[in-house]
């Protein structure tokens, strides 16, 4: 039995190209074509296809948003994002949204039919060109978001001195900056850590181990 496919792209030229490709390949049937994400979502709901190919940048609803909704409404439909962006952000968001494949538009098109068959069988696929950046990106993502990383080197020096009980003047002198600059740093630290007074700031800094506390 051939695989039932819906294609969504706001460029007629691309749709006709894909149609041509799958007409030559065996075992596919294009059951619907959509011009935007909203259209694609409704078609999938009506037709429950085996596969849907979604462009990323489409009017009304972009491909990634559409993927999210389709995954929710038709969990059996496998989603392939068909994009011209190689940014790992798009790729990561696409998979988070429930896509099984991320295909680049300038990829060797011969590969498309076998890839779509594979993802219909439950496999996943990312175009080679995008793979490396995704790995780097995921490492990068793990690094971020610790509270400590939100403070600059200078701010960490200042926070440590605030916790040590030093006045703005003393801090400014020690770090060879103007008192006003020190005051601004102090203000920025407080804004960033969402604290409104020094006592809370000090407690917060100690509780989250943003500073070292020495007991004498």
């Amino acid at each position: 039995m051939s695989l039932r496919l819906v294609i969504a792209d706001n460029h007629p030229i691309i749709r006709s190209g894909i149609r041509m490709l799958f007409q030559q390949a065996h075992g596919f049937e294009i059951v619907g074509e959509a011009e935007d994400g909203l259209d694609a979502m409704q078609l999938c709901e009506q037709l429950s296809p085996d596969l849907v190919m979604l462009d990323v940048s489409m009017p009304k609803m972009n491909g990634i948003e559409a993927a999210r909704v389709i995954k929710e409404k038709c969990p059996d439909t496998k989603i392939a994002i068909f994009s011209s962006y190689t940014n790992p952000e798009y790729i990561t968001y696409a998979f988070e949204a429930g896509a099984s494949a991320y295909l680049l538009k300038d990829e060797d098109m011969d590969k498309l039919p076998p890839i779509l068959r594979a993802i219909a069988n439950g496999e996943t696929y990312v175009s080679q060109e995008a793979k490396d950046s995704v790995t780097a990106y995921q490492v990068d993502m793990k690094k971020q978001a610790s509270l400590e990383s939100l403070l600059t080197t200078r701010e960490k020096q200042i926070l440590q001195r605030i916790v040590d009980g030093k006045t703005t003047k003393e801090i400014a002198y020690e770090l060879d900056i103007s008192a006003r600059t020190a005051e601004t740093h102090k203000y920025n630290i407080m804004q960033k850590l969402n604290t409104h007074d020094i006592a809370t700031l000090v407690r917060f800094a100690i509780a989250h181990q943003l500073v070292s506390v020495t007991t004498e």
Partner: protein, 478 residues
């Protein structure tokens, strides 16, 4: 200590009053000869004059008049001393500007209380005068004039600031309703005429009104007009009006609007260009790629022919690929569609990664957890500011190291960009004046348009730090 001058031809009165005043704690001066009055006033500061009514030579009343007509000394309060209880004389004294009177023989308690109240009255008047002069300053600064219309005799009075607004003098341009009409811009007559008609004929105020006036030099100013009808027993008596020259304010807001609009147009234009390139050119590339694949297969009768064609097509595909990459870079520089598709944090991440790769930098991005979505205008502004600031790092800071941090607290989105580079000359940028770098000025403009604030710190050898906060509520992304 108040200085009190006694003018009396009677030595005993002077002696008595002098002693009493002394015992009350005042210092006093005196003269037996009225003609020396002005000489004394000119040589010593005097806070109060006690003036005898009946004196040989120049009598008290005419002297009082002279004091009250004097440009400087008229503000000195005068208490008349008299043994006479003639009502007409008293009336004459008050009419000439006397503040009070004391009957002879002088009673110490009466003297004490009248002097005290005269001095405190004087203090109040001085304070009032001070206030009115500062009010005048305020009016000047606000380019605001006041006018008053008497409903009974239809007389109109303008304050001096009114003449300044209209750039005319009281002599050349008597304040009248008619003249009011003469200065109105012809295009605004239609709206102003009914307004002034209601005001002066029916004494009805139809809210504030802005309109244009023309000065004698033909320059056009915009004025803001407000009036209030004062009634007595249900009948209009006076109309008080304020006319303010708001040309400068209007121009600067118009400038701000124009700037904001220009920004919008530029972004829209960039977005349109990027979209056109993406929709038209990129798709053609993609399509070419597809076609090459398909025709390579379908156009060949044998496998060897296919291989030959394929090799040729391969180089075409490589060219297409290179063209594609270049074009994508251009599109992305024009407008980051990732910002619209995925939001601020992914867009910043993509931009910084790209910059690091292209320029061999080590810029770090830290996004605080729980960063929500913000209105498109704010996200775009923050993105553009980051772009600009990082461009500065590349161009001027001469360091590969910089940190970008973004987070939110309650209803404030904050962004910080800091480098450890060579810093700028100014210890602290005064952003009120146009700083040397137009980029920084535009950053500041963008932030202030969104109601936010930005601080920039830079010290030679200490790097540069930009911290900005924009107040708004996060929105829910679709």
């Amino acid at each position: 200590m108040a200085n009190i001058l006694i003018v009396d031809d009677n030595k005993q009165t002077i002696q008595q009053v002098d002693e009493l005043l002394c015992s009350f704690g005042y210092s006093s001066l005196y003269t037996l000869e009225p003609e020396f009055l002005f000489e004394i006033l000119e040589s010593k500061p005097v806070d109060l004059i006690l003036l005898d009514v009946h004196m040989p030579g120049e009598d008290g009343v005419s002297l009082l008049k002279k004091v009250k007509e004097h440009p400087v000394f008229r503000s000195i309060p005068v208490i008349m001393l008299t043994g006479d209880t003639d009502e007409r004389l008293l009336e004459k004294c008050f009419a000439s500007g006397a503040m009070d009177f004391i009957n002879k023989p002088i009673h110490d308690i009466v003297l004490k209380s009248r002097v005290k109240s005269a001095l405190s009255n004087r203090d109040h008047i001085l304070a009032l005068r001070k206030k009115s002069s500062s009010l005048k300053n305020v009016l000047q600064i606000a380019t605001m004039g006041m006018w008053e219309f008497d409903c009974s005799n239809r007389y109109m009075k303008w304050s001096s600031e009114m003449y300044q607004i209209f750039d005319r003098t009281a002599e050349s341009f008597p304040s009248s309703i008619g003249n009011f009409f003469h200065v109105i811009h012809p295009e605004d007559i239609k709206i102003v005429k009914p307004y002034l008609h209601d005001l002066f004929e029916s004494n009805k105020v139809a809210g504030p009104l802005d309109f244009r006036i023309i000065r004698p030099d033909e320059s056009v100013r915009i004025v803001h007009q407000q009036a209030e009808v004062l009634e007595k027993e249900g009948k209009p008596v006076h109309i008080l009006g304020i006319t303010q020259d708001i040309t400068d304010q209007q121009r600067s807001t118009a400038l701000q609007h124009a700037y904001r609009r220009q920004n919008q147009i530029r972004e829209e234009e960039r977005e349109r260009l990027a979209r056109d390139l993406h929709d038209e050119v990129i798709q053609i590339f993609s399509m070419l790629n597809l076609k090459i694949n398909v025709s390579a297969k379908s156009g060949c009768s044998s496998e060897s022919e296919y291989c030959w064609l394929r090799d040729n097509f391969q180089s075409c595909q490589e060219l297409i690929h290179t063209g594609n990459q270049t074009l994508r870079q251009i599109i992305n520089d024009l407008y980051p569609s990732i910002l619209k598709d995925l939001g601020l944090a992914p867009a910043l991440r993509a931009h910084i990664r790209d910059l690091n790769e292209r320029m061999n930098l080590q810029i770090e991005l830290h996004v605080s957890s729980g960063l929500e979505s913000w209105p498109a205008e704010i996200e775009l502004a923050v993105f553009r500011i980051t772009q600009e600031a990082l461009n500065n790092v590349v161009k001027h800071a001469k360091t590969p190291h910089a940190q970008v941090m973004i987070g939110q607290r309650e209803n404030i989105l904050w962004l910080q960009i800091e480098d450890q580079g060579q810093g700028m000359f100014l210890e602290e940028m005064n952003l009120k004046s146009m700083p040397k770098s137009l980029g920084l000025f535009l950053m500041k403009e963008r932030v202030s348009q969104l109601g936010g604030k930005i601080t920039i710190h830079s010290q030679l050898g200490q790097g540069t730090s930009i911290f900005l906060e924009i107040p708004h509520s996060p929105i829910e992304r679709k």
